[in-house]
Amino acid sequence: MLLILLPIIPLLGIFALRGTRGKSINIPFAVSSVTLILGQHLLRDVLGGNPLTYRLPVSGPFVPTFQADAVSAIFVLLAAFLWWVVSIYSPEYMKQEGGTRRFEICTLLTLAAVLGVFVAGDLFTLLLFFELMTVTSFFWVVHRWNEEAIRAGYFYLFFSIAGGLLLALGIVLIGTATSSLPAVGAGPVTPLDSQAFSWGVAAIVAGFGIKAGMAPLHLWLPHAHSVAPTPASALLSGLLIKVGAYGLIRIGELVGWGLEFGHAATWLGPALTLLGTCTMLVGVLAALLQSDAKRLLAYHSVSQMGYIILGLGVGLSLGKAGGLGLLGSIYHVVNHALFKAALFLGVGVIYIRTGETNLYNLGGLWRSFPVTAVLMFLAVLGITGAPGLNGYASKTLLHHAVSEAAQTGLPLMVWAERLFLVVGVGTAASFAKLFYLTFLGKPAEIEISDGRSQRFHVSMALLALVMVGIGLQPKLFLEALAVPAAKALGMETAAATIADLSFWNASDVMGMVITLGLGIAVCWIGLTTGAFHWTPPRWLTLEGLRQIVLLGLGAVIRKGEGYYRSAMAFFSNIGSAITSRLLSACQRLDHSRDGTIGDITLAGISADAAILLVVLAVLILLYAYIELDLPSLRLPVSLPTWLRIPFHR
């Protein structure tokens, strides 16, 4: 019952919203508070014993089922917390942005959908909430309804729709391969048809990958996350892309966490590793080049999702020994949600006061925004992985996992480890750039509007608090939540892998510090040489890609259309020509059948009589010709039988 309440309560919130029209009651806050409490209950229940399941009492091919294990509980709690924080933040922000009611409705609907995804008990229910989430969050993206927003919204929607369709395809293939659809949280399956299963898994990975911003499919993400109103961006980047990660974790469960290499889709681990590495790299490189704060953050979402995917990939590849990767990923999901939300909220504060998000137009703002600057600094430290904050913990775990994988000597893993470090440097560099250009540097000449900022600060501070808390006690969270989650997923060895792990060892801390230092150096080089102003070639951007695709498709379609039209025209021309010729011939014949033989003109009845006699003559001659057996006049044999006139002799 608890499970089904989770998605329903936000829906009830919408009715409440109707009832409180015109009053300043923060319904989303109330709703997310309730869900937060429910989430806590859920977590307690789940950690206390078996996973919860619930089936709606309906018949038919689709029985919505709900389930929650530790993984679901973590995600539910995370979602509820982020919504709670953001709903503290958003009323003040949306007052300036406009369209508060629409935003609140979207927020509530999306919360419902997200919670639904996390507590879905079968793939259909999961898909249902996933699609709902796509639609409702689309309204976040196009909130402003201007050209840019609509374009970004299109990208978001079409990519998401494609994702949903791929999921559907994947479900079909897995359903075919396993005879009955596996439930979510039911552990690994042994498919009857491993090829179909593999393809199904691939389709589902691609589907969730689109949502998660996985490398070649990430293109929509920066656009969508940067045009949405900032609270929405925070949630999009903080949580909605984690739905993709959640899906990937669940798909990993189908394939089998902690299974040795006997499972059905052995390729999945290395593939995810590769994709994760690419995602990390692409995201961070693109982020370095951004001048817009929100876009920079959005690209970092891509990059950080890369970490998560990499962790999952490594975890899957290593089989039993992959506990670190899975734990790291789950951990990073939580951490990234926290600091990315904080970062977006911080940038939002700047934007709402200055109306500017271009980094090069900002500068020296620590004087005007001291509290924001401090909180932002904490978040930046978090994301760059500075020791003492939460990012350090999960990144260290992930790094351990990758190094362990690199021990196997596989080139893929070795390169993954090397690039992991490079990305760390890049992350540090780009955030150094962000923080330097915004808060430090020479003061920019921009107008700063007044307004109450307490709520902003409170919400960011809440996030920072948790971040610091985790950062100081990294193992606490890990053991309390992540390990049960991994266990629930079937990774029985999770607890053992971290038993002798200590976060505060010298090599890890030094590594991180060196990374940070290198990052600041790169940032300095980039800023002084102007390398950050390099614009990538058009074909690398989404617009360029879109243009290429549209040009290509357009050409194909236009060509096809041309062929189609000309074929149609050809046939209809031929048809009409034949018809008109035939009809006019008939008309002429009907009008007059006059004919001339020599100098005798046969007119009217004479011609008719002639026709009669000609027919007679033809009939007689036909016989005579057969009778005389003239070889040169023989009918060709290829005539159809009904035309051939064989005479009996």
Partner: protein
């Protein structure tokens, strides 16, 4: 038995009654139309209920030296259910849409006659009866196509008649051949040709049947009458050219595949390997052409062409899942497409805008209409809360289970192109000026709005609870497999 007769008669009687009341006012006429279409709906629901309860309802007799029979089986019952339910909705919508139009008497006369004839197609128990009603449908709907009496409408009508009659001719030849082989055209005793096994000419007969019914089912080279027929009033386009008439073609093909040939015999024909690809071609090309259309109704028409082949694709997979998908799609597509057309009709009626490129800002003027349109467009993509997901799911399931995974890719691709087809329309409708909320020609009237929103709601309900229609689908699948 009585229900069957009454279901068939109520439309005809209503139509003739309206035809014989030249001086009746609009209100009276509407009441008569409503009463008779409601009666038809109720009776056909009762018939369907009886069929699903396992009763055999059969009226047969020998007329003109040939056996004729009416005997709805689950497939016919489902078709009857869809048709009769939607007829009621379209009727109510018509009251709103046609108010103030000319020639209402003619319109309602043929509207109700077509109801009867379509139910006849659904409930026919042998090929001859099916052929008779199929042919009659052409004539009964012709006056609706040329309702505008413009030269364009007349041309469209001529096209419609020529295409349909040629198709009917092909069917007649095929029926004759089947008759000469089996001496029996009844559907009740299992697939007609199954007992005879493979024999030469079977493929040709199938080709003739498919080409003949394919005219109304708008298989790609034979589809050209359908976009032309869009000059009819919107309720007609919505009901007849998106559902009833075109479904009669689809229904015919389903009948041919499962009741005349049977899935086992079909599986042995080479043609059955090609037919899914013919359907796929139509699916893709139809929807691509649809994206290129600017006039909304034409776009919807080409989209219809594409969607009908989904059903055919399901039928041609010859797999229980595929058939289930086809039946599901018959149900779900019809609800959504009618919604789309109703919305297009409201837009055209209230704003006078018929082109997609003119529609910016319409969403703010007609929010509920556009919302319904949006929901339906999402459904056309095959997104989950809508019922079309289930049909797509089972279609894909069927094709994958038959080893034709490429067909699943076709369906996915088509879903994506569908998104390109309608989403921009919806988004553009909300993109323009938000200021002018008032309309010169009045706003959404409840007579037009209610059927539309109700249908969208039904689509959502079925999407969330496919168990609602599943027994019917299962019954059909069990019947044929």
């Amino acid at each position: 038995m009585t229900d069957l007769v009454l279901a068939l008669l109520s439309g005809a009687v209503g139509g003739i009654l309206i035809g014989l009341m030249p001086r009746a006012g609009n209100r009276l006429r509407n009441i008569v139309a409503l009463v008779f279409s409601a009666a038809g709906t109720i009776f056909s629901w009762r018939v369907a209920g009886a069929v699903f309860a396992g009763h055999t309802i059969r009226i047969s007799g020998e007329i003109a030296g040939l056996a004729w029979s009416l005997q709805p089986d689950p497939l016919g019952a489902i078709f009857g259910l869809i048709v009769s339910t939607l007829w009621l909705f379209a009727g109510v919508y018509s009251f709103g849409y046609m108010a103030g139009e000319h020639k209402q008497r003619t319109y309602y006369t043929y509207f109700l006659l077509a109801f009867s004839v379509t139910l006849g197609v659904a409930f026919s128990g042998n090929l001859l009866a099916l052929y008779l009603f199929y042919e009659l449908l052409t004539f009964v709907t012709y006056p609706l196509v040329i309702h505008e009496r413009s030269s364009e409408a007349m041309k469209a009508g001529a096209k419609y008649i020529v295409y349909s009659l040629s198709g009917a001719g092909a069917i007649l030849i095929a029926i004759i051949v089947v008759y000469s082989w089996t001496g029996n055209l009844d559907f009740a005793g299992g697939p007609l040709l199954a007992a005879g096994g493979l024999r030469p000419g079977l493929g040709w007969v199938l080709a003739l049947f498919v080409a003949g019914f394919g005219v109304k089912a708008a298989i790609m080279p034979l589809h050209r009458w359908l976009p032309a027929a869009m000059c009819a009033p919107t309720p007609v386009s919505a009901l007849l050219h998106a559902v009833a008439v075109v479904y009669s073609g689809v229904y015919g093909i389903l009948r041919v595949v499962y009741s005349v040939f049977g899935h086992e015999l079909m599986g042995q024909l080479h043609l059955s390997d090609i037919l899914p690809w013919v359907a796929s071609f139509t699916i893709l090309v139809g929807v691509i052409i649809a994206t290129q259309q600017d006039v909304l109704k034409r776009r919807l028409a080409y989209h219809t062409v594409s969607q009908l082949s989904y059903i055919l694709l399901g039928a041609f997979t010859l797999h229980p899942w595929g058939l289930a998908g086809a039946i599901c799609h018959m149900i779900s597509y019809s609800t959504l497409k009618v919604t789309l057309f109703f919305a297009a009709g409201v837009i055209a009626k209230r704003t006078g805008k018929v082109r997609v490129s003119e529609m910016s800002g319409v969403g703010w003027q007609l929010p509920r209409t556009m919302a319904a349109f949006g929901v339906a467009s999402l459904g056309m993509i095959g997104m989950l809360p809508l019922n079309t997901f289930w049909s797509k799911y089972y279609l894909m399931r069927g094709s994958v289970a038959k080893g034709k995974w490429q067909l699943a890719l076709v369906l996915i691709t088509s879903g994506l192109i569908n998104a390109f087809c309608f989403i921009p329309t919806v988004v553009a409708a909300f993109a323009g000026e938000r200021g002018q909320l008032s309309l010169e020609k009045g706003s959404e009237t409840s007579l037009m709005l209610a059927p539309m929103l109700l249908l969208a709601g039904i689509a959502l309900l079925i999407g969330l609870w496919p168990g609602l229609v599943w027994p019917g689908v299962e019954a059909v699948v069990d019947w044929f497999f």
